[in-house]
């Protein structure tokens, strides 16, 4: 009888799910074909954060950029839960470790949540999460979901690491063990590899989290 191997913690979310199959049928997020692909230039964008500052990806040329898709309501992202990477200290730890490796690394959150809520409410709720955790990060509002769909962001948290040349080097899960701090952090690994002039050994993993509630 076929025995399905229980994927180890590391592999359970590390099953590769790179770009969607080109023969895709009836995708729900189908307005814009996802253009983000590891090894290719990351899609350009300009977004405004909850504080009113505008960020253009091109401005960060020369620096490694980390994008984290975020939702204040998802228990793995900003929601009130032990699984929340913001509330359980994982993001704080990651930012500290990344800056120790590369002081110039840029880490921003992108919020493509729509869910039928007013944009102001989402922005306010997002700021409230970061006020609780005390880690200051810009929250880029992508209310109409255009940037999220370009990147193929499926869940929160979904992470992307872009090198100084603007090439996407990693996309996928925050880390290898959603239930503990024992796992590998793929983002830190990617940032470290880029700093050392290498290609990240893990380029693409399957992210865990809640589905992004795009505008319909």
């Amino acid at each position: 009888m076929h025995v399905k191997t229980r994927l180890s913690r590391r592999l359970a979310i590390a099953a590769a799910a790179a770009c969607c199959v080109s023969l895709a049928h009836a995708g729900l997020v189908d307005d814009v074909a996802a253009k983000a692909e590891v090894g290719k230039p990351a899609p350009a964008f300009t977004l405004t954060d909850t504080g009113g500052t505008t960020h253009n990806l091109a401005d960060f040329k020369g620096k490694t950029v980390v994008l984290e898709w975020f939702s204040p309501y998802c228990p793995w992202s900003g929601g009130e839960s032990r699984g929340s990477v913001h509330r359980n200290g994982k993001v704080k730890s990651l930012v500290e470790k990344m800056k120790a490796v590369d002081p110039n690394v840029v880490y921003v959150l992108v919020n493509s949540t729509h869910q039928g809520r007013p944009e102001k409410e989402i922005a306010r709720d997002s700021d409230a999460v970061l006020a609780t955790t005390g880690v200051k990060l810009p929250i880029l509002m992508d209310y109409d979901g255009t940037v999220g769909k370009m990147y193929g962001a499926k869940v929160t948290p979904h992470l992307y690491v872009i090198d100084g040349e603007g090439v996407l080097r990693y996309q996928g899960a925050f880390d290898s063990d959603r239930n503990s701090t024992d796992g590998s952090n793929y983002v830190l690994e990617a940032v470290t590899a880029i700093k050392n002039g290498e290609t990240p050994s893990t380029a693409s993993t399957r992210p865990y989290g809640c589905g992004v509630k795009y505008k319909r």
Binding site: M1, H2, V3, K4, T5, R6, L7, L11, A12, I13, A14, A15, A16, A17, A18, C20, V21, S22, L23, A24, H25, A26, G27, L28, V29, Y73, C74, P75, W76, G79, S81, R82, G83, Q115, K154, V155, R178, N179, T202, A203, S204, R206, Y208, G209, C210, G211, V212, K213, Y214, R216
Partner: protein, 325 residues
């Protein structure tokens, strides 16, 4: 090995009745009032229980344990491949030395479609079967053990829940070499026997030889292990019986991806089904695991309708550009 209980409607009904009665009635939600997740905390939205509560295992033998979740209406937990988002139910066992737990035998899941995504999992209730094994060297007697369950549970929004349960293991003397399946579960625990049989019947099976279910992967342009990407097709066919619907639900296989947008529908004609699943194989993403195309092929729509495990290894190229098991 499965308990031999044939699909007996009385037993199934008894199991269902028992499961229903254990589901606590919930507060009625007023129409127009948004459901507040604070009414029930995440750990109450799914109530975990174990059957049997005292697990009898012979030395050198094994026994089935059923981990049941009674799920609040409208909420659901996830299958081993959750789909577009979500994380599977996870079980962690704390067992005495000499006892080990096998993998979860996942029952056939439902397909949940929301405006945002398509996911696979279970609403109302689910029973997850796990086989506990006792080594040859273990001594007889009672021991305590525990299990931790963690799950993501969603309606429109999602929460993370979990529960801990302690239970007893009674290790008995070794059984005869020709012991039947029913010797594994103490006959005195008929509730456990019925529930285990009921959920075992929903676990997809490896296609029996006589069914002649064909499963193969073809690469029209050949397959190269050093290629960045290989485009292929997983072809499935077999007898459809009385069913007119068939679909394929993929597993999360490193290196092999399947179309976006949920299960791949097949067609049924003249009592036979056919499913064609476009796949993309990227050997570089396999993370050290053997490349394969895998999932379950499901007839009909109900969780109790037949489903079969599919697994086709993907290996070095053959002359015809296709690989078959």
């Amino acid at each position: 090995m499965r308990p031999r209980a044939a699909p007996n409607r009385l037993i199934a009904a008894a199991g269902l009745l028992t499961a229903t009665m254990t589901t606590v009635a919930t507060a009625q939600l007023l129409p127009g009032v948004p459901a507040s997740p604070r009414e029930k905390g995440p750990d109450e939205l799914a109530r975990m229980s174990l059957l049997p509560e005292r697990v009898g295992i012979p030395v050198g033998g094994s026994a089935w344990v059923l981990v049941r979740l009674a799920i609040e209406p409208k909420w659901h937990v996830y299958w081993r491949n959750p789909g577009d988002s979500g994380v599977p139910v996870e079980l962690k066992w704390t067992l005495p030395a000499g006892i080990s737990a096998g993998e979860i035998r996942w029952p056939r899941p439902e397909v949940f479609r929301t405006p945002y995504e398509i996911t696979y999992g279970y609403a109302d209730e689910v029973g997850l079967l796990v086989e506990l094994k006792a080594s040859e060297e273990i001594g007889t007697g009672a021991r305590s053990a525990s299990i931790r369950g963690d799950w993501m549970i969603c309606k429109e929004m999602c929460l993370i829940g979990g529960a801990d349960r302690t239970f007893e293991i009674e290790v008995s003397g070794a059984v005869e070499a020709d012991a039947t399946d029913s010797d594994r579960v103490p006959i005195t625990d008929s509730e456990a026997f019925a529930a285990i049989a009921r959920w075992q019947a929903q676990v997809p099976v490896a296609p029996p030889e006589k069914m002649k279910l064909r499963q193969m992967v073809e690469f029209p342009n050949g397959f190269r292990a050093d290629a960045n990407e290989n485009a292929g097709v997983l072809r499935l066919s077999g007898p459809a019986g009385r069913f007119s619907e068939v679909r394929f639900l993929p597993d999360a296989t490193p290196g092999t991806t399947y179309p976006e947008g949920g299960p791949v529908e097949g067609r049924v004609a003249s009592g036979r089904f056919e499913v064609e699943v476009p796949i993309s194989v990227r050997p570089g993403d396999a993370l050290g695991e053997a490349l394969r195309a895998a999932g379950i092929v499901c007839l009909g729509n109900a969780r109790t309708d037949p489903a079969f495990e599919i697994e086709v290894p993907i290996g070095p190229p053959t002359a015809g550009g296709s690989t078959a098991p």
